[in-house]
Protein backbone atom coordinates (compact mmCIF):
# COMPACT_ATOMS: atom_id res chain seq x y z
CA UNK A 1 0.00 0.00 0.00
CA UNK A 2 2.81 2.32 0.80
CA UNK A 3 4.23 1.61 -2.62
CA UNK A 4 0.93 2.59 -4.22
CA UNK A 5 0.96 5.80 -2.20
CA UNK A 6 4.41 6.63 -3.51
CA UNK A 7 3.38 5.88 -7.07
CA UNK A 8 0.46 8.27 -6.68
CA UNK A 9 2.76 10.99 -5.36
CA UNK A 10 5.12 10.24 -8.22
CA UNK A 11 2.36 10.56 -10.79
CA UNK A 12 1.47 13.98 -9.39
CA UNK A 13 4.93 15.51 -9.60
CA UNK A 14 5.54 13.53 -12.77
CA UNK A 15 2.63 15.22 -14.51
CA UNK A 16 4.22 18.60 -13.75
CA UNK A 17 7.49 17.37 -15.26
CA UNK A 18 5.53 16.08 -18.23
CA UNK A 19 3.96 19.50 -18.88
CA UNK A 20 7.33 21.23 -18.71
CA UNK A 21 8.92 18.53 -20.85
CA UNK A 22 6.21 18.83 -23.49
CA UNK A 23 6.59 22.62 -23.57
CA UNK A 24 10.28 22.09 -24.15
CA UNK A 25 9.79 19.22 -26.59
CA UNK A 26 7.36 21.06 -28.82
CA UNK A 27 10.04 23.68 -29.49
CA UNK A 28 12.73 21.06 -29.96
CA UNK A 29 10.55 18.92 -32.17
CA UNK A 30 9.60 21.77 -34.47
CA UNK A 31 12.92 23.58 -34.72
CA UNK A 32 15.58 21.30 -33.30
CA UNK A 33 16.55 23.99 -30.82
CA UNK A 34 17.00 23.77 -27.07
CA UNK A 35 15.22 26.65 -25.37
CA UNK A 36 17.28 27.44 -22.31
CA UNK A 37 14.97 30.31 -21.40
CA UNK A 38 12.11 27.84 -20.83
CA UNK A 39 12.70 27.63 -17.08
CA UNK A 40 12.87 31.39 -16.70
CA UNK A 41 9.76 31.89 -18.81
CA UNK A 42 7.74 29.53 -16.62
CA UNK A 43 9.14 31.17 -13.49
CA UNK A 44 8.24 34.64 -14.80
CA UNK A 45 4.70 33.52 -15.73
CA UNK A 46 4.18 32.08 -12.26
CA UNK A 47 5.42 35.31 -10.73
CA UNK A 48 3.00 37.32 -12.90
CA UNK A 49 0.14 35.22 -11.52
CA UNK A 50 1.42 35.83 -8.01
CA UNK A 51 1.79 39.58 -8.66
CA UNK A 52 -1.66 39.97 -10.23
CA UNK A 53 -3.28 37.97 -7.45
CA UNK A 54 -1.62 39.82 -4.58
CA UNK A 55 -1.84 43.36 -5.93
CA UNK A 56 -5.20 43.37 -7.74
CA UNK A 57 -6.98 40.66 -5.72
CA UNK A 58 -8.43 39.06 -8.84
CA UNK A 59 -9.80 35.54 -8.52
CA UNK A 60 -6.98 33.02 -8.64
CA UNK A 61 -8.25 31.40 -11.84
CA UNK A 62 -8.16 34.72 -13.71
CA UNK A 63 -4.70 35.41 -12.25
CA UNK A 64 -3.55 32.06 -13.57
CA UNK A 65 -4.92 32.84 -17.03
CA UNK A 66 -3.10 36.19 -16.99
CA UNK A 67 0.08 34.41 -15.93
CA UNK A 68 -0.24 31.93 -18.79
CA UNK A 69 -0.86 34.76 -21.27
CA UNK A 70 2.21 36.54 -19.90
CA UNK A 71 4.19 33.34 -20.45
CA UNK A 72 3.03 33.24 -24.08
CA UNK A 73 4.02 36.88 -24.59
CA UNK A 74 7.44 36.45 -22.96
CA UNK A 75 8.12 33.32 -25.00
CA UNK A 76 7.11 35.22 -28.13
CA UNK A 77 9.53 38.02 -27.27
CA UNK A 78 12.32 35.52 -26.68
CA UNK A 79 11.59 33.97 -30.07
CA UNK A 80 11.46 37.31 -31.89
CA UNK A 81 14.59 38.78 -30.30
CA UNK A 82 16.87 35.86 -29.68
CA UNK A 83 15.87 32.99 -31.94
CA UNK A 84 14.57 34.22 -35.28
CA UNK A 85 17.63 36.30 -36.25
CA UNK A 86 19.94 33.33 -35.65
CA UNK A 87 17.66 30.54 -36.79
CA UNK A 88 19.96 29.54 -39.61
CA UNK A 89 23.28 29.86 -37.84
CA UNK A 90 25.20 27.24 -35.91
CA UNK A 91 23.14 25.15 -33.49
CA UNK A 92 25.09 26.59 -30.58
CA UNK A 93 24.12 30.20 -31.16
CA UNK A 94 20.33 30.04 -30.54
CA UNK A 95 21.02 27.97 -27.43
CA UNK A 96 23.25 30.65 -26.01
CA UNK A 97 21.03 33.57 -27.03
CA UNK A 98 18.08 31.95 -25.26
CA UNK A 99 20.34 31.45 -22.24
CA UNK A 100 21.11 35.18 -22.35
CA UNK A 101 17.39 36.03 -22.58
CA UNK A 102 16.80 33.75 -19.59
CA UNK A 103 19.36 35.72 -17.57
CA UNK A 104 17.59 38.96 -18.50
CA UNK A 105 14.16 37.61 -17.53
CA UNK A 106 15.45 36.28 -14.20
CA UNK A 107 17.11 39.60 -13.42
CA UNK A 108 13.91 41.53 -14.20
CA UNK A 109 11.86 39.29 -11.89
CA UNK A 110 14.53 39.61 -9.21
CA UNK A 111 14.39 43.41 -9.42
CA UNK A 112 10.64 43.33 -8.84
CA UNK A 113 10.25 40.54 -6.29
CA UNK A 114 13.71 39.90 -4.86
CA UNK A 115 15.26 36.50 -4.50
CA UNK A 116 13.30 35.35 -1.43
CA UNK A 117 10.68 32.63 -1.23
CA UNK A 118 7.13 33.98 -1.38
CA UNK A 119 3.92 32.20 -0.33
CA UNK A 120 1.85 31.14 -3.32
CA UNK A 121 -1.93 31.20 -2.96
CA UNK A 122 -2.94 27.58 -3.38
CA UNK A 123 -5.94 27.33 -5.67
CA UNK A 124 -6.71 23.77 -4.74
CA UNK A 125 -7.26 24.28 -1.05
CA UNK A 126 -5.84 21.93 1.53
CA UNK A 127 -7.25 18.64 2.68
CA UNK A 128 -7.08 15.05 1.51
CA UNK A 129 -9.14 12.56 -0.37
CA UNK A 130 -9.19 9.01 0.90
CA UNK A 131 -9.49 6.01 -1.34
CA UNK A 132 -9.16 2.97 0.85
CA UNK A 133 -5.88 3.48 2.69
CA UNK A 134 -4.64 5.80 -0.01
CA UNK A 135 -4.34 9.43 0.99
CA UNK A 136 -4.29 11.92 -1.84
CA UNK A 137 -3.87 15.66 -1.33
CA UNK A 138 -6.39 17.90 -3.05
CA UNK A 139 -3.51 19.74 -4.69
CA UNK A 140 -2.35 16.47 -6.20
CA UNK A 141 -5.79 15.75 -7.63
CA UNK A 142 -5.98 19.24 -9.11
CA UNK A 143 -2.50 18.85 -10.57
CA UNK A 144 -3.36 15.55 -12.21
CA UNK A 145 -6.69 16.75 -13.58
CA UNK A 146 -5.32 20.04 -14.92
CA UNK A 147 -2.32 18.29 -16.45
CA UNK A 148 -4.46 15.68 -18.20
CA UNK A 149 -6.91 18.30 -19.51
CA UNK A 150 -4.05 20.50 -20.74
CA UNK A 151 -2.35 17.62 -22.50
CA UNK A 152 -5.56 16.48 -24.18
CA UNK A 153 -6.34 20.04 -25.28
CA UNK A 154 -2.81 20.49 -26.59
CA UNK A 155 -2.91 17.21 -28.49
CA UNK A 156 -6.24 18.28 -29.99
CA UNK A 157 -4.77 21.66 -30.89
CA UNK A 158 -1.92 19.98 -32.75
CA UNK A 159 -4.17 17.46 -34.43
CA UNK A 160 -7.27 19.38 -35.42
CA UNK A 161 -6.60 23.12 -35.68
CA UNK A 162 -4.95 24.94 -38.55
CA UNK A 163 -2.08 26.44 -36.50
CA UNK A 164 -1.49 23.02 -34.97
CA UNK A 165 -1.31 21.52 -38.42
CA UNK A 166 1.13 24.27 -39.44
CA UNK A 167 3.33 23.38 -36.46
CA UNK A 168 3.44 19.75 -37.53
CA UNK A 169 4.26 20.75 -41.10
CA UNK A 170 7.09 23.07 -40.03
CA UNK A 171 8.45 20.34 -37.79
CA UNK A 172 8.64 18.02 -40.75
CA UNK A 173 10.23 20.30 -43.31
CA UNK A 174 10.58 24.03 -42.91
CA UNK A 175 11.49 24.79 -46.51
CA UNK A 176 8.68 22.73 -47.95
CA UNK A 177 6.28 24.34 -45.50
CA UNK A 178 7.35 27.79 -46.66
CA UNK A 179 6.92 26.81 -50.30
CA UNK A 180 3.44 25.50 -49.58
CA UNK A 181 2.46 28.87 -48.18
CA UNK A 182 2.61 28.05 -44.50
CA UNK A 183 3.40 31.24 -42.57
CA UNK A 184 6.59 29.83 -41.10
CA UNK A 185 7.58 32.81 -38.96
CA UNK A 186 4.17 33.04 -37.36
CA UNK A 187 4.15 29.29 -36.80
CA UNK A 188 7.52 29.39 -35.08
CA UNK A 189 6.17 32.10 -32.84
CA UNK A 190 3.13 29.92 -32.11
CA UNK A 191 5.49 27.06 -31.23
CA UNK A 192 7.30 29.20 -28.71
CA UNK A 193 4.04 30.60 -27.38
CA UNK A 194 2.62 27.10 -26.90
CA UNK A 195 5.84 26.01 -25.20
CA UNK A 196 5.68 29.03 -22.89
CA UNK A 197 2.03 28.39 -22.02
CA UNK A 198 2.64 24.70 -21.20
CA UNK A 199 5.67 25.68 -19.15
CA UNK A 200 3.75 28.26 -17.13
CA UNK A 201 0.92 25.78 -16.47
CA UNK A 202 3.53 23.37 -15.19
CA UNK A 203 5.09 26.12 -13.09
CA UNK A 204 1.71 27.10 -11.62
CA UNK A 205 0.92 23.51 -10.68
CA UNK A 206 4.36 23.13 -9.11
CA UNK A 207 3.91 26.36 -7.15
CA UNK A 208 0.41 25.24 -6.15
CA UNK A 209 1.70 21.93 -4.82
CA UNK A 210 4.55 23.49 -2.85
CA UNK A 211 2.56 26.68 -2.06
CA UNK A 212 5.62 28.85 -2.73
CA UNK A 213 7.16 30.79 -5.60
CA UNK A 214 10.83 31.63 -5.72
CA UNK A 215 13.30 33.00 -8.20
CA UNK A 216 15.29 29.79 -8.59
CA UNK A 217 12.27 27.54 -9.21
CA UNK A 218 12.67 27.60 -12.99
CA UNK A 219 16.02 25.91 -13.12
CA UNK A 220 15.39 22.67 -11.22
CA UNK A 221 12.04 22.16 -12.98
CA UNK A 222 13.71 22.84 -16.30
CA UNK A 223 16.39 20.22 -15.58
CA UNK A 224 13.77 17.65 -14.68
CA UNK A 225 11.85 18.64 -17.80
CA UNK A 226 14.98 18.12 -19.92
CA UNK A 227 15.52 14.74 -18.36
CA UNK A 228 11.88 13.75 -18.91
CA UNK A 229 11.97 14.91 -22.53
CA UNK A 230 15.12 12.94 -23.22
CA UNK A 231 13.94 9.78 -21.49
CA UNK A 232 10.95 9.74 -23.80
CA UNK A 233 12.86 10.70 -26.91
CA UNK A 234 13.46 14.40 -27.36
CA UNK A 235 10.94 16.11 -29.62
CA UNK A 236 8.47 13.27 -29.16
CA UNK A 237 5.41 14.56 -27.30
CA UNK A 238 3.99 11.23 -26.12
CA UNK A 239 7.50 10.32 -25.09
CA UNK A 240 7.79 13.47 -23.04
CA UNK A 241 4.54 12.61 -21.25
CA UNK A 242 5.72 9.10 -20.43
CA UNK A 243 9.20 10.36 -19.55
CA UNK A 244 7.75 12.86 -17.09
CA UNK A 245 5.60 10.24 -15.39
CA UNK A 246 8.46 7.71 -15.29
CA UNK A 247 10.76 10.31 -13.76
CA UNK A 248 8.16 11.35 -11.20
CA UNK A 249 7.46 7.75 -10.14
CA UNK A 250 11.18 6.92 -9.98
CA UNK A 251 11.82 9.94 -7.80
CA UNK A 252 8.99 9.02 -5.47
CA UNK A 253 9.86 5.34 -5.17
CA UNK A 254 13.66 5.29 -5.41
CA UNK A 255 14.03 8.78 -3.96
CA UNK A 256 13.77 7.91 -0.25
CA UNK A 257 16.51 5.31 -0.67
CA UNK A 258 18.74 7.79 -2.49
CA UNK A 259 18.49 10.22 0.43
CA UNK A 260 20.19 13.52 -0.25
CA UNK A 261 21.08 12.36 -3.76
CA UNK A 262 17.40 12.34 -4.68
CA UNK A 263 17.85 15.10 -7.26
CA UNK A 264 20.61 13.13 -8.93
CA UNK A 265 18.13 10.45 -10.09
CA UNK A 266 16.96 12.63 -12.95
CA UNK A 267 20.48 13.35 -14.14
CA UNK A 268 21.71 9.79 -13.82
CA UNK A 269 18.67 8.68 -15.80
CA UNK A 270 19.34 11.40 -18.38
CA UNK A 271 22.99 10.44 -18.85
CA UNK A 272 22.25 6.73 -18.90
CA UNK A 273 19.53 7.11 -21.53
CA UNK A 274 21.70 9.31 -23.71
CA UNK A 275 24.57 6.85 -23.53
CA UNK A 276 22.57 3.70 -24.12
CA UNK A 277 19.73 4.90 -26.28
CA UNK A 278 20.28 8.48 -27.45
CA UNK A 279 16.92 8.59 -29.22
CA UNK A 280 15.07 7.94 -25.97
CA UNK A 281 12.94 5.03 -24.88
CA UNK A 282 10.28 5.67 -27.48
CA UNK A 283 12.34 7.47 -30.11
CA UNK A 284 13.05 5.94 -33.45
CA UNK A 285 16.64 5.51 -34.54
CA UNK A 286 18.01 8.85 -35.58
CA UNK A 287 19.75 8.83 -38.89
CA UNK A 288 21.62 11.84 -40.07
CA UNK A 289 21.05 12.67 -43.69
CA UNK A 290 23.72 14.49 -45.59
Amino acid sequence: MEFLQQVTNGLTIGSVYALVAIGFSVVYGALGLVNFAHGDILMAGTFVTYGVYTSFHLPIVISCVIGILAGIVIAGIVEEVAVRPVLKSHLLIPMMTTLGMGLIIRNLVELKYGSGTLPFPSFAGSGFFHIGDLQIARAAVVTLVVAVITLVLFAAFLKFTKPGFAIRVVAQDMTAARLMGVPVNRTIMAVYGAGGALGVIGGLLYANTLEVVYLGMGFPILLKGFAAAIVGGIGNLQGALIGGLVLGILEATVGPAAGSYRDAIAFVLLIAILLVRPAGLLGARVQERV
Partner: protein, 350 residues
Protein backbone atom coordinates in the same frame (compact mmCIF):
# COMPACT_ATOMS: atom_id res chain seq x y z
CA UNK B 1 38.37 49.72 -33.45
CA UNK B 2 42.10 49.25 -33.11
CA UNK B 3 42.62 47.46 -36.39
CA UNK B 4 44.36 50.49 -37.94
CA UNK B 5 47.25 50.09 -35.50
CA UNK B 6 50.14 48.30 -37.22
CA UNK B 7 50.82 44.79 -36.03
CA UNK B 8 54.33 45.38 -34.62
CA UNK B 9 52.98 48.13 -32.37
CA UNK B 10 50.22 45.82 -31.17
CA UNK B 11 52.83 43.21 -30.31
CA UNK B 12 54.87 45.76 -28.37
CA UNK B 13 51.68 46.85 -26.58
CA UNK B 14 50.95 43.23 -25.65
CA UNK B 15 54.49 42.81 -24.33
CA UNK B 16 54.12 46.03 -22.36
CA UNK B 17 50.88 44.65 -20.89
CA UNK B 18 52.66 41.50 -19.72
CA UNK B 19 55.50 43.57 -18.20
CA UNK B 20 52.91 45.77 -16.51
CA UNK B 21 51.29 42.59 -15.19
CA UNK B 22 54.56 41.56 -13.56
CA UNK B 23 55.15 45.03 -12.11
CA UNK B 24 51.61 45.36 -10.78
CA UNK B 25 52.37 44.31 -7.16
CA UNK B 26 54.75 47.27 -6.84
CA UNK B 27 52.24 49.74 -8.19
CA UNK B 28 48.88 49.12 -6.52
CA UNK B 29 47.41 48.20 -3.14
CA UNK B 30 46.59 44.58 -2.14
CA UNK B 31 42.87 44.81 -2.94
CA UNK B 32 43.58 45.55 -6.59
CA UNK B 33 46.13 42.73 -6.68
CA UNK B 34 43.50 40.36 -5.33
CA UNK B 35 41.01 41.47 -8.00
CA UNK B 36 43.66 41.10 -10.70
CA UNK B 37 44.46 37.60 -9.44
CA UNK B 38 40.74 36.68 -9.53
CA UNK B 39 40.52 37.95 -13.09
CA UNK B 40 43.50 35.79 -14.03
CA UNK B 41 42.02 32.69 -12.36
CA UNK B 42 38.86 33.15 -14.37
CA UNK B 43 40.96 33.75 -17.49
CA UNK B 44 42.47 30.28 -17.07
CA UNK B 45 39.04 28.80 -16.28
CA UNK B 46 37.55 30.36 -19.41
CA UNK B 47 40.58 29.39 -21.52
CA UNK B 48 39.72 25.76 -20.87
CA UNK B 49 36.10 26.34 -21.85
CA UNK B 50 37.16 28.33 -24.90
CA UNK B 51 38.84 25.25 -26.33
CA UNK B 52 35.67 23.20 -25.82
CA UNK B 53 33.08 25.84 -26.68
CA UNK B 54 34.90 28.34 -28.88
CA UNK B 55 36.94 25.93 -30.96
CA UNK B 56 34.97 22.72 -30.70
CA UNK B 57 31.49 24.25 -30.66
CA UNK B 58 30.57 21.89 -27.83
CA UNK B 59 28.39 23.62 -25.28
CA UNK B 60 29.47 22.59 -21.80
CA UNK B 61 27.37 23.68 -18.86
CA UNK B 62 29.38 21.64 -16.42
CA UNK B 63 32.65 23.45 -16.64
CA UNK B 64 32.40 24.62 -13.04
CA UNK B 65 32.54 20.94 -12.08
CA UNK B 66 35.98 20.65 -13.72
CA UNK B 67 37.06 23.82 -11.95
CA UNK B 68 35.77 22.34 -8.72
CA UNK B 69 37.39 18.96 -9.29
CA UNK B 70 40.77 20.64 -9.69
CA UNK B 71 40.22 22.79 -6.62
CA UNK B 72 39.08 19.94 -4.38
CA UNK B 73 41.82 17.56 -5.50
CA UNK B 74 44.40 20.28 -4.78
CA UNK B 75 42.83 21.16 -1.44
CA UNK B 76 42.73 17.52 -0.30
CA UNK B 77 46.32 16.91 -1.36
CA UNK B 78 47.57 20.07 0.33
CA UNK B 79 45.69 19.30 3.54
CA UNK B 80 46.49 15.60 3.80
CA UNK B 81 49.93 15.23 2.25
CA UNK B 82 53.08 17.30 2.27
CA UNK B 83 53.37 17.17 -1.49
CA UNK B 84 55.22 19.96 -3.21
CA UNK B 85 53.05 22.43 -5.06
CA UNK B 86 54.38 21.39 -8.46
CA UNK B 87 53.29 17.82 -7.82
CA UNK B 88 49.91 18.97 -6.52
CA UNK B 89 49.38 20.90 -9.73
CA UNK B 90 50.33 17.92 -11.87
CA UNK B 91 48.01 15.63 -9.91
CA UNK B 92 45.09 18.06 -10.02
CA UNK B 93 45.44 18.82 -13.70
CA UNK B 94 45.75 15.16 -14.65
CA UNK B 95 42.95 14.13 -12.30
CA UNK B 96 40.64 16.76 -13.71
CA UNK B 97 41.63 15.84 -17.25
CA UNK B 98 40.61 12.24 -16.56
CA UNK B 99 37.32 13.49 -15.14
CA UNK B 100 36.88 15.61 -18.27
CA UNK B 101 37.64 12.63 -20.51
CA UNK B 102 34.97 10.62 -18.73
CA UNK B 103 32.41 13.39 -19.30
CA UNK B 104 33.72 13.81 -22.83
CA UNK B 105 33.20 10.14 -23.64
CA UNK B 106 29.48 10.79 -23.37
CA UNK B 107 29.87 13.00 -26.45
CA UNK B 108 30.83 9.88 -28.39
CA UNK B 109 27.26 8.99 -29.16
CA UNK B 110 25.38 12.24 -28.90
CA UNK B 111 25.69 15.59 -30.62
CA UNK B 112 25.97 19.19 -29.50
CA UNK B 113 22.67 19.99 -27.86
CA UNK B 114 22.43 16.73 -25.95
CA UNK B 115 25.94 17.31 -24.71
CA UNK B 116 24.87 20.59 -23.12
CA UNK B 117 22.26 18.65 -21.15
CA UNK B 118 24.69 15.88 -20.17
CA UNK B 119 27.27 18.36 -18.90
CA UNK B 120 24.53 20.22 -17.06
CA UNK B 121 23.52 16.95 -15.41
CA UNK B 122 27.10 15.98 -14.63
CA UNK B 123 27.69 19.41 -13.08
CA UNK B 124 24.61 19.04 -10.89
CA UNK B 125 25.60 15.56 -9.74
CA UNK B 126 29.07 16.84 -8.88
CA UNK B 127 27.55 19.74 -6.95
CA UNK B 128 25.31 17.33 -5.00
CA UNK B 129 28.39 15.22 -4.26
CA UNK B 130 30.29 18.25 -2.95
CA UNK B 131 27.44 19.08 -0.62
CA UNK B 132 26.82 15.55 0.64
CA UNK B 133 30.14 13.70 0.87
CA UNK B 134 31.03 15.50 4.07
CA UNK B 135 34.07 13.41 5.04
CA UNK B 136 35.78 14.08 1.69
CA UNK B 137 34.64 17.55 0.70
CA UNK B 138 33.58 19.08 4.00
CA UNK B 139 29.98 19.37 2.79
CA UNK B 140 28.36 22.78 2.51
CA UNK B 141 31.02 24.45 4.68
CA UNK B 142 33.84 23.33 2.41
CA UNK B 143 37.47 22.90 3.38
CA UNK B 144 38.93 25.93 5.16
CA UNK B 145 42.53 26.61 6.25
CA UNK B 146 44.43 25.23 3.30
CA UNK B 147 48.12 26.04 3.80
CA UNK B 148 49.75 28.39 1.28
CA UNK B 149 51.93 26.60 -1.21
CA UNK B 150 55.68 26.62 -1.70
CA UNK B 151 56.72 26.41 -5.32
CA UNK B 152 60.34 25.15 -5.57
CA UNK B 153 61.36 27.12 -2.50
CA UNK B 154 59.34 30.18 -3.49
CA UNK B 155 56.96 30.95 -0.61
CA UNK B 156 53.53 31.97 -1.88
CA UNK B 157 52.14 33.21 1.44
CA UNK B 158 52.19 36.88 0.47
CA UNK B 159 49.41 37.93 -1.89
CA UNK B 160 52.00 39.55 -4.21
CA UNK B 161 53.75 36.23 -4.69
CA UNK B 162 50.48 34.37 -5.16
CA UNK B 163 49.51 36.91 -7.78
CA UNK B 164 52.82 36.55 -9.64
CA UNK B 165 52.49 32.78 -9.57
CA UNK B 166 48.94 32.98 -10.95
CA UNK B 167 50.12 35.41 -13.62
CA UNK B 168 52.82 32.99 -14.70
CA UNK B 169 50.35 30.10 -14.80
CA UNK B 170 47.90 32.21 -16.82
CA UNK B 171 50.55 33.02 -19.39
CA UNK B 172 51.51 29.36 -19.66
CA UNK B 173 47.87 28.29 -20.02
CA UNK B 174 47.14 30.99 -22.62
CA UNK B 175 50.25 30.09 -24.62
CA UNK B 176 49.27 26.42 -24.44
CA UNK B 177 45.77 27.20 -25.70
CA UNK B 178 47.27 29.33 -28.47
CA UNK B 179 49.47 26.43 -29.55
CA UNK B 180 46.51 24.06 -29.48
CA UNK B 181 44.55 26.51 -31.62
CA UNK B 182 47.37 26.59 -34.16
CA UNK B 183 47.84 22.85 -34.17
CA UNK B 184 46.16 20.11 -36.15
CA UNK B 185 43.86 19.54 -33.19
CA UNK B 186 42.69 23.16 -33.19
CA UNK B 187 42.03 23.15 -36.91
CA UNK B 188 40.20 19.83 -36.66
CA UNK B 189 38.05 21.30 -33.92
CA UNK B 190 37.15 24.33 -36.03
CA UNK B 191 36.24 22.00 -38.87
CA UNK B 192 34.08 19.89 -36.57
CA UNK B 193 32.37 22.99 -35.25
CA UNK B 194 31.48 24.14 -38.73
CA UNK B 195 30.34 20.80 -40.11
CA UNK B 196 30.83 17.43 -38.51
CA UNK B 197 29.96 15.44 -41.59
CA UNK B 198 32.45 17.27 -43.79
CA UNK B 199 35.09 16.98 -41.10
CA UNK B 200 34.54 13.25 -40.97
CA UNK B 201 34.74 13.06 -44.73
CA UNK B 202 38.18 14.70 -44.53
CA UNK B 203 39.51 11.97 -42.31
CA UNK B 204 39.17 13.68 -38.96
CA UNK B 205 38.34 11.29 -36.16
CA UNK B 206 35.43 13.35 -34.90
CA UNK B 207 34.47 11.52 -31.67
CA UNK B 208 38.08 11.10 -30.55
CA UNK B 209 38.89 14.77 -31.19
CA UNK B 210 35.89 15.81 -29.13
CA UNK B 211 36.84 13.60 -26.22
CA UNK B 212 40.45 14.82 -26.32
CA UNK B 213 39.44 18.48 -26.29
CA UNK B 214 37.16 17.77 -23.36
CA UNK B 215 40.10 16.30 -21.50
CA UNK B 216 42.41 19.22 -22.32
CA UNK B 217 39.78 21.84 -21.51
CA UNK B 218 39.06 20.10 -18.22
CA UNK B 219 42.76 19.95 -17.38
CA UNK B 220 43.12 23.70 -17.89
CA UNK B 221 40.01 24.28 -15.75
CA UNK B 222 41.62 22.05 -13.11
CA UNK B 223 44.68 24.30 -13.15
CA UNK B 224 42.34 27.25 -12.57
CA UNK B 225 40.92 25.34 -9.62
CA UNK B 226 44.38 24.96 -8.06
CA UNK B 227 45.03 28.67 -8.57
CA UNK B 228 41.70 29.45 -6.91
CA UNK B 229 42.73 27.38 -3.87
CA UNK B 230 46.07 29.18 -3.69
CA UNK B 231 44.34 32.54 -3.90
CA UNK B 232 41.56 31.91 -1.36
CA UNK B 233 43.05 29.25 0.94
CA UNK B 234 39.56 27.76 1.01
CA UNK B 235 37.21 25.71 -1.14
CA UNK B 236 33.45 25.50 -0.82
CA UNK B 237 30.70 24.17 -3.08
CA UNK B 238 29.26 27.67 -3.63
CA UNK B 239 32.08 28.44 -6.08
CA UNK B 240 31.13 25.56 -8.35
CA UNK B 241 27.43 25.98 -9.04
CA UNK B 242 25.87 25.97 -12.46
CA UNK B 243 25.88 29.78 -12.27
CA UNK B 244 29.66 29.62 -12.39
CA UNK B 245 29.47 27.46 -15.49
CA UNK B 246 27.18 30.02 -17.09
CA UNK B 247 29.59 32.76 -15.99
CA UNK B 248 32.37 30.96 -17.85
CA UNK B 249 30.18 30.72 -20.95
CA UNK B 250 29.53 34.47 -20.64
CA UNK B 251 33.23 35.22 -20.36
CA UNK B 252 34.09 33.15 -23.43
CA UNK B 253 31.29 34.68 -25.50
CA UNK B 254 31.86 38.26 -24.46
CA UNK B 255 35.61 37.98 -24.85
CA UNK B 256 35.40 36.25 -28.19
CA UNK B 257 35.03 32.58 -29.12
CA UNK B 258 38.07 30.79 -30.51
CA UNK B 259 40.42 33.69 -29.83
CA UNK B 260 43.57 33.71 -27.73
CA UNK B 261 42.95 36.92 -25.83
CA UNK B 262 39.18 36.49 -25.58
CA UNK B 263 39.05 34.79 -22.18
CA UNK B 264 41.33 37.46 -20.70
CA UNK B 265 39.34 40.40 -22.09
CA UNK B 266 36.05 38.71 -21.17
CA UNK B 267 37.05 38.11 -17.57
CA UNK B 268 38.40 41.66 -17.23
CA UNK B 269 34.96 42.91 -18.20
CA UNK B 270 32.84 40.33 -16.37
CA UNK B 271 34.88 39.85 -13.16
CA UNK B 272 36.29 43.38 -13.07
CA UNK B 273 32.87 44.97 -13.37
CA UNK B 274 31.54 42.69 -10.63
CA UNK B 275 34.26 43.92 -8.29
CA UNK B 276 34.29 47.59 -9.17
CA UNK B 277 30.74 48.41 -10.23
CA UNK B 278 28.92 47.18 -7.16
CA UNK B 279 26.22 49.79 -7.71
CA UNK B 280 25.27 47.83 -10.82
CA UNK B 281 25.16 44.51 -8.96
CA UNK B 282 21.35 44.32 -9.18
CA UNK B 283 21.41 44.67 -12.95
CA UNK B 284 24.49 42.56 -13.53
CA UNK B 285 23.07 39.41 -15.03
CA UNK B 286 20.66 41.45 -17.16
CA UNK B 287 23.53 43.48 -18.59
CA UNK B 288 25.64 40.42 -19.33
CA UNK B 289 22.66 38.53 -20.71
CA UNK B 290 21.90 41.40 -23.07
CA UNK B 291 25.57 41.70 -23.98
CA UNK B 292 25.66 37.99 -24.74
CA UNK B 293 22.64 38.21 -27.04
CA UNK B 294 23.93 41.33 -28.80
CA UNK B 295 27.39 39.87 -29.33
CA UNK B 296 25.96 36.64 -30.72
CA UNK B 297 23.66 38.55 -33.05
CA UNK B 298 26.13 41.12 -34.37
CA UNK B 299 29.73 40.53 -33.32
CA UNK B 300 30.31 36.82 -32.82
CA UNK B 301 34.03 37.53 -32.32
CA UNK B 302 33.22 39.30 -29.05
CA UNK B 303 35.48 41.95 -27.57
CA UNK B 304 38.42 40.75 -29.66
CA UNK B 305 36.45 41.52 -32.79
CA UNK B 306 35.01 44.78 -31.46
CA UNK B 307 38.46 46.03 -30.50
CA UNK B 308 39.94 44.72 -33.73
CA UNK B 309 42.61 42.63 -32.02
CA UNK B 310 43.71 39.92 -34.38
CA UNK B 311 41.74 37.52 -36.50
CA UNK B 312 38.54 36.06 -35.20
CA UNK B 313 37.53 32.53 -35.93
CA UNK B 314 34.11 32.65 -34.43
CA UNK B 315 31.27 30.94 -36.19
CA UNK B 316 29.36 33.49 -38.19
CA UNK B 317 26.27 34.25 -36.21
CA UNK B 318 24.30 36.25 -38.74
CA UNK B 319 25.06 35.68 -42.35
CA UNK B 320 24.74 38.63 -44.66
CA UNK B 321 21.80 37.21 -46.57
CA UNK B 322 19.88 36.57 -43.36
CA UNK B 323 20.63 40.11 -42.24
CA UNK B 324 19.37 41.51 -45.53
CA UNK B 325 16.25 39.39 -45.30
CA UNK B 326 15.68 40.73 -41.81
CA UNK B 327 16.11 44.32 -42.97
CA UNK B 328 13.80 43.73 -45.87
CA UNK B 329 11.21 42.26 -43.57
CA UNK B 330 11.34 45.17 -41.19
CA UNK B 331 11.20 47.59 -44.15
CA UNK B 332 7.97 46.15 -45.49
CA UNK B 333 5.86 45.12 -42.56
CA UNK B 334 2.93 43.65 -44.54
CA UNK B 335 5.08 40.89 -45.99
CA UNK B 336 5.62 39.55 -42.52
CA UNK B 337 1.97 38.94 -42.04
CA UNK B 338 1.13 37.35 -45.33
CA UNK B 339 2.71 34.07 -46.06
CA UNK B 340 2.58 34.39 -49.80
CA UNK B 341 4.57 37.61 -49.99
CA UNK B 342 7.33 36.17 -47.90
CA UNK B 343 10.60 35.88 -49.81
CA UNK B 344 11.57 32.30 -50.31
CA UNK B 345 15.25 33.12 -50.10
CA UNK B 346 15.66 31.68 -46.66
CA UNK B 347 16.58 28.07 -46.50
CA UNK B 348 15.71 25.91 -43.59
CA UNK B 349 18.55 25.05 -41.32
CA UNK B 350 19.67 21.58 -42.24
Amino acid sequence: MLSFVPKPIMRIALLALVVLGFLLPNLVEPYTIRVAATILVFTVFATGLNLILGFGGLLSFGHAAMFGAGAYIAARLMLDTGMSLALVIVCSVLGTAVFGLLVGITSWRVGGDYLALITLGAGQIFYLYLNNAKEVTGGATGLPGIPPGVFFGWDLTAIENTYLFILGATIVATAFAWLIGKSFLGRSLLAIREDEVIARAHGINVPLTKVIVFGIGAGIAGLAGVLQVLLLGFVGPASFTVDQSILAVEIVLIGGMATTLGPFLGSILVIGSTEYLRSLADYRSMIFGALMVLILLWKPGGLVQILGLGETRASKATSLSALLAKLRRSGTPPSRHSAHAEPVTEEARP
